[in-house]
Symmetry: C2
Subunit: 652 residues, 2 copies
C-alpha cells in the first residue's frame, strides 16, 4: 500500500450519467418496474403494516420474518438512488409515505424495530446473535444516508441519527456485544461521512474490533437462553419461530461446541485467514473493515483483508463471482468446495461488490474492479429476471431444471438488495486520486469530477459485454492521468489516443491499468479488448469441476440450457481445444436483448443399443458429433424451464 | 413364463456346504465375530432389556427405536442359520436366552411388541403407517421359522404362530389395513410353508392385495392423527419421538397431499410400473408378491413384478446393485437419478437379493442370479467391514473421505440384516427343477439334492471373484441336466466335460445357462470365464455419470481410494480405451485377503502455474501421465480414511 493509493476514492454515482446499451435498459427496468413491484410486495408481505401497527401502539400481529423492517429500508435506499437521478413524482410520494411510517414507528428513545415493539417489547438487545436489531438499524441508516443525499431532506436522516444515538448510548455501556449479522458497522461509517459525528465512526470501530473476542456476547448468548428472550424463542435453537430449524447447527461444531464461524466471530478479524460462515455477513463485515481502514488509516486491517480476499478468490469463489456453496448456513465451507448445485446467494454477490469497491479504494489495485466486473455480469446479474419482477435467491452453476426465479421470498433480502445495487451502479465505474481518473468499468456513461483541482469530463461508449470496443472522450482543465483498467480476461488490448497507438505494456507496468497522462481537450481514446472464447479449467483441487471446462468470453461466463440444445445438457462433452464460434441470437422477448451465443463442436453419446440397458462397456458404445450452444449465464432461466450447466465434460 | 420354470426351486442352504476361498472366511467371521458382537449390541442398546421389562410387566422405560424388537429377531434368524450348520454351544445358549426373553414378553392374546406394551398399551394397531408392529411381527416369524428349521425346536415357532394367529384374527375384522413397512407378508408365507396353515398364506395375500387401495388405511391415518395414538406422537408428523422429522415430507407430495409412494401404496401392486418410495419396503413387498405367485400360481403378479424389476435394473440401480439414492426417505426417486453420493442402504441390497432369489424361482431366468451376484459382491458386501464389527448403512459410490462404517446405529436395521444374509448364503447358490440343477453362483461348495427322483451330488471349486476358473464334480443316480449360469459380465466362457469342450453357444440358446444333460458319475466339468477389465459407461440419461467410466472385472466393481493413489481420486482422467492391467495386493490386514487390483494409464492435471489462481484457460494448463490404481468396491474404507470414487472422468 502506497500513499498514492490511500487517496483513491470512487466517484459517486451522482457525478455519473449512465447511457449504456447493456446496462441502461436494466437500470430503467429496475426504476420503472422493480421498485414499483417491490413496493407492492412490501405491502403484501405485511412489512409496511408492521410499521403502521407499531406507530399506532398495537401489540402483536407482527407479520413475516423478524428482520423484515430491513426490506423496507433497502427499498427506500434503492428508490432514493433513483430519485437522485430522476424526479419521479410517484416514486417520491411512495418513499415519503414509507418514511412517514418508519418515523411514526420510532420510539421516543430513538429505538426502532417493529418486531420487538409488537412482539417482545421487553427483550430488546437481548439476542444479538439472531434477532437482527442492529442489522435492521444498519439498513435504516443506509437508507437515510441515501435519501438525504438524494433529496437533501432530513426526514429519514433524523430518524436514523436518533436511532444511531440510542445505539451508541446502549452499546459499550448497558450492553456489550456485536450483532450476529453485520451491517451496522458499514452503515455507521456512512452516517459518519454524512454527519461528521466521530462517535458513529468510533461505534463502528467498536463493533468491528469486539467481534471474535471473548466479550462479543455471541457465545454467551448461546449458553444463556434464559437471558435472551421470552416465549417467542425456541429454547432449543435460540431462534424465533419462522426460522429454519437447520440454522442452529451452523452455530455449533461437530462436537456441539459453539463455533463462531457462522458470524465471523471465531477469532478477531485481524487474525482471520479464511473466509468463513454466512457469506453475506462476511462481505458486510469486510466492507466495513475496509471502510474503517480508509477512514482511520488503520493499516492493521489491510493485510488481513487482503489475506481474506485471496482466500476467497483463490479457493472459495465460483467462476461467476458467486460465493458460499452451502445451503444450511448460506455460506462458506472449505477450500475448493465449489459444488455446482451450490447456494451462491444473490445478496452475497451484492456484498462482494460492496467489499471490492472498498478494497479498490484502499489499494488502487485493478484486481478488485476486475472482480466487481465478474460479479456484476454473472453472479449478481443472474439474480434478477429480464422483466425485473423475479429473483434468484440461490445462483447454482448447474440445475436439473427445477430452479427458478421467484417474485418474492419469506426471507426477501435479495430482491431489494439487487434493486439498490442496480440503482447505484454508477458508484462502481470511476475513481480518482490526486492526479488521475480510473476507468474501472466499461459502461457507457459520462462522468464529471475533479482531480487535483482540475475539472475532468470523460464520456464513454462501450460495446461490452458483447464486443470489446470502447471509446472515450476526455476533457480536462489541466494535465491528468486517465487510467484504463485492462480486464483480467482480455488476451490483448489495443489503446489509441486520437488514433495513435499507445504502447500498453509500457503504460501498464503490471498495474492492470494503461495510464495515459497528458493534457486533454476532447481527445478520443479507443480501447479494443480481445474477447476470445476461453475454455477455463478450475484448480485441480476443485473436485466438482474435475474433467470439466467452463466457457467464457470477455466478462461473461456462459452456460448451456436445454432451450438451445437437442440433448440434455449433461450429455455434452466438449473438445477443450476446439475453437468456439460466436453468433447472435435475438432473445429480446426473454432476456430483453439479443445476445452473443457460443457454439462449438461437442460429442454426445449415441442413443443406439441402450434398449433395456443401464450400464454397458464403453467399447460397445458410440458417440456422435454435434454442436453445443451456450448463452450468457446471467440470461438463464428466462425461457422455458430446463436443465442448465456451466461446467461441461471435456476431452483434452 | 413356462411350466418348467414354475417348478424351479432354490436348494435350501441346509443341503449346501460352502467351502470357498473368498466367502468362507467372511461366513466364519460372521459366525465367530459378528453374531457375538451383535448380541452384545442387543444388550447395550436396550433391545433385550425392553423384552425383560415387558416380561416383568413394567411400564415405560422403553429404549431405542420403536421397532427395535426386530433387531433381536433378525439376530436370532442369523444365529439360527449358523446353528443349522454348527452345533455352537455358546451361540445356542444365547439364542435360547433371547428366545426365552421374547416368549416371556408375549401377551396372553399372542400380541408381542415391547414398545407398545411398555409405552402405549392402549394404542395397538392404531398407527400402521409408522409404528411397525407388523414389521416386527414379520421378523419374529422369520426368526422362528429359521430357528425351528435349524433346531427342530418349537419354542420360538409357538410364539410366532400365536402372534400370527392374533394378527390373523385382528386384521380384516377389527382392523382393516396394511403396514407402512412391509415384512409381515413374506414372513407369513414362510410360516405357511413350515406349518401348512393356509390362513397365513391368505393373510399375506390380504396384505399384498389391500395395499394401494382406498381401504389400506395409510391415507386415512395421516388425516386422523387423533385416532392413531397418544401423547407419544408428534401430532404434526405422526411420527413418534426419536424419529427423523424429515420423514414426514416423504409421505406428502409437493402440494402437501398424501402420496403413498413411500410405502408402495400409491396404487395397487399390479398397477405399479415404477419402483417407488422406501427401497427396503419395496424389496420386501416384491419378494412377498413373488412368493405369493409361487405359492398360489397367481400369474397376475408376475408381469407387474417383471415390469418393476426392469424399471429398477434399467433405470434406478447403481452399478453395484445398490438401490435408493435419496437419504430423506431412504428410497427411490426418479429414473436415472443415480447421484454418486447417494444412499443405497445395505438393507435394500439385502432385500434385493431376497427378491431376486424369488424372481428366479418364478421364472428360471439367469438375469436374477446375475443380479444376486452383482449385489452380493458389491452393493451388499461393502456393507460389512473385513473384521465383521463395522457396518455401512449407506453405500455411496463416491466419498470425500468422511463416510465410514460404524459399529452400530440408532436405527440398527442393517447389521443384523447383513448377518442373516451371510449366514444363509447357501440359499443362493443352487436351484433345481424336474430334470436338472442350476448352478447359479460360483462359490466353492458341495450340494446334495434330488432331481426328479435322482440323487445329485455336485461339488464346486471356484476361483471367483479373482479368477474365472470353476471346477465341478458331478454324480447323479440318473440322467439330469446341469445348468451353468453364464454371468452377464463374462465376455467368453469355455466349458469342458472331462476335458472335452462343449459348444456353449448351442448349449446356452440365449437362456443364460449352458445346459449339460447326461449321466453323471464323478464327471469333471470346468468353466473358464473371461474376466477382462471393462470400462463401463452408464446410460446417457444418467447425469451423474456423464463423461465417466466405472471399472469392472468379473463380478466386481472397482473403485479408487486415496490410499493407493498419489493424487486426490477426483483428479484422475482415465483413457477409456486403454487396457487396464491387474495386480495382486496383499490387503490381508485391512480386507482379510489379498485382492486383485487394477492399474492403468490416467492423466492428472499438472499442478504447475496454479499459484494464486482458481481458474485458468485450459490452453495454459498441462496434464501429466500417471497410473490409477483401483481396488474392489467392497474393500473400500478398510484402510486409512480417504476419498473414494467408482466413476472416473474419461477421455474417449
Amino acid at each position: 500500500m502506497d500513499d498514492t493509493a490511500e487517496s483513491v476514492e470512487s466517484v459517486d454515482f451522482s457525478d455519473v450519467e449512465i447511457d449504456d446499451e447493456f446496462w441502461s435498459p436494466r437500470i430503467e427496468t429496475n426504476r420503472e418496474v422493480t421498485l414499483e413491484y417491490q413496493y407492492d410486495q412490501l405491502e403484501e408481505s405485511g412489512t409496511l403494516e408492521n410499521f403502521r401497527r407499531t406507530r399506532d401502539g398495537e401489540e402483536g400481529g407482527f407479520q413475516g420474518m423478524w428482520f423484515q423492517d430491513s426490506d423496507a429500508y433497502k427499498w427506500i435506499e434503492g428508490a432514493s438512488y433513483v430519485l437522485a437521478k430522476h424526479d419521479d413524482e410517484e416514486l417520491r410520494s411512495k418513499v415519503d409515505e414509507v418514511i412517514e411510517l418508519v418515523a411514526g414507528a420510532q420510539g421516543e428513545d430513538g429505538y426502532l424495530n417493529t418486531y420487538f415493539s409488537l412482539v417482545e417489547p421487553d427483550n430488546r438487545w437481548s439476542n444479538l446473535h439472531m434477532m437482527h436489531e442492529l442489522y435492521c438499524a444498519g439498513h435504516l441508516i443506509e437508507a437515510a444516508v441515501a435519501h438525504h443525499r438524494a433529496t437533501g431532506d432530513d426526514s429519514l436522516l433524523d430518524v436514523a441519527t436518533a436511532f444511531a444515538d440510542h445505539i451508541d448510548e446502549v452499546f459499550g455501556d448497558e450492553v456489550e456485544g456485536v450483532p450476529g449479522h453485520e451491517e451496522i458497522e458499514l452503515a455507521l461509517i456512512r452516517l459518519y461521512r454524512v454527519t461528521d459525528e466521530e462517535r458513529y465512526l468510533d461505534r463502528a470501530t467498536y463493533f468491528v474490533d469486539l467481534r471474535g473476542t471473548d466479550d462479543d456476547r455471541l457465545a454467551w448468548e448461546l449458553t444463556h437462553p434464559e437471558d435472551i428472550g421470552g416465549s417467542e424463542y425456541d429454547d432449543g435453537a435460540l431462534i424465533p419461530d419462522g426460522s429454519d430449524g437447520a440454522a442452529k447447527s451452523v452455530f455449533l461444531d461437530d462436537d456441539g461446541e459453539y463455533d463462531g464461524r457462522y458470524a465471523q466471530a471465531h477469532e478477531p478479524l485481524r487474525d482471520q485467514t479464511t473466509v468463513e460462515g454466512h457469506s453475506v455477513r462476511a462481505m458486510y463485515l469486510f466492507a466495513a473493515a475496509a471502510d474503517l481502514a480508509l477512514e482511520t488509516g488503520d493499516d492493521s486491517l489491510v493485510e488481513p483483508l487482503e489475506r481474506l480476499w485471496e482466500n476467497m478468490t483463490e479457493r472459495r469463489m465460483y467462476i461467476t463471482g458467486g460465493i458460499g456453496p452451502e445451503h444450511a448456513h448460506e455460506g462458506f465451507t472449505e477450500d475448493y468446495d465449489l459444488r455446482n448445485d451450490g447456494y451462491a446467494e444473490t445478496c452475497a454477490a451484492v456484498g462482494s461488490v460492496f467489499w471490492n469497491r472498498r478494497m479498490f479504494e484502499l489499494t488502487g489495485e485493478a484486481r478488485y474492479p476486475d472482480l466487481v466486473e465478474r460479479t456484476l455480469y454473472n453472479g449478481f446479474l443472474a439474480g434478477v429476471s429480464a422483466d425485473g419482477t423475479k429473483f434468484f435467491y440461490e445462483n447454482p452453476l448447474e440445475s436439473d431444471g427445477d430452479h427458478h426465479r421467484k417474485g418474492w421470498f419469506t426471507c426477501a433480502c435479495c430482491p431489494p438488495n439487487a434493486a439498490r445495487l442496480l440503482a447505484s451502479l454508477g458508484d462502481y465505474l470511476y475513481a480518482r486520486d490526486d492526479d488521475g481518473v480510473y476507468v474501472n468499468q466499461y459502461v457507457g456513461s459520462t462522468v464529471t469530477t475533479s482531480v487535483g483541482g482540475a475539472e475532468v469530463t470523460l464520456s464513454q461508449e462501450s460495446s461490452l459485454p458483447w464486443e470489446g470496443a470502447v471509446e472515450l472522450t476526455v476533457d480536462a482543465s489541466d494535465e491528468v492521468a486517465v487510467r484504463l483498467r485492462v480486464p483480467e480476461w482480455a488476451d490483448g488490448v489495443d489503446v489509441r489516443v486520437n488514433g495513435d497507438a499507445v504502447d500498453e505494456d509500457a503504460a501498464d507496468e503490471g498495474s492492470g491499468y494503461v495510464e495515459l497522462r497528458r493534457e486533454w481537450d476532447g481527445d478520443a481514446v479507443t480501447l479494443s479488448l480481445d474477447q476470445s472464447v476461453e475454455a477455463m479449467v478450475a484448480h485441480p483441487n476443485v473436485g466438482s469441476d474435475a474433467g470439466r471446462v467452463a466457457l467464457t468470453r470477455g466478462p461473461l461466463v456462459y452456460c448451456a440450457e436445454d432451450a438451445d440444445n437437442d440433448r440434455p445438457v449433461h450429455q455434452y462433452t466438449v473438445d477443450a481445444d476446439a475453437d468456439f464460434g460466436t453468433d447472435r441470437a435475438d432473445l429480446t422477448d426473454a432476456v430483453g436483448t439479443d445476445v452473443v451465443t457460443l457454439g462449438g463442436p461437442a460429442d454426445v453419446p449415441s442413443l443406439d443399443g441402450w434398449e433395456g440397458e443401464l450400464y454397458r462397456p464403453v467399447a460397445e458404445t458410440d458417440t456422435e458429433e454435434t454442436t453445443l450452444t451456450a448463452v450468457p449465464y446471467f440470461a438463464w432461466d428466462n425461457r422455458e424451464p430446463g436443465a442448465m450447466r456451466v461446467w461441461f465434460h471435456a476431452d483434452r
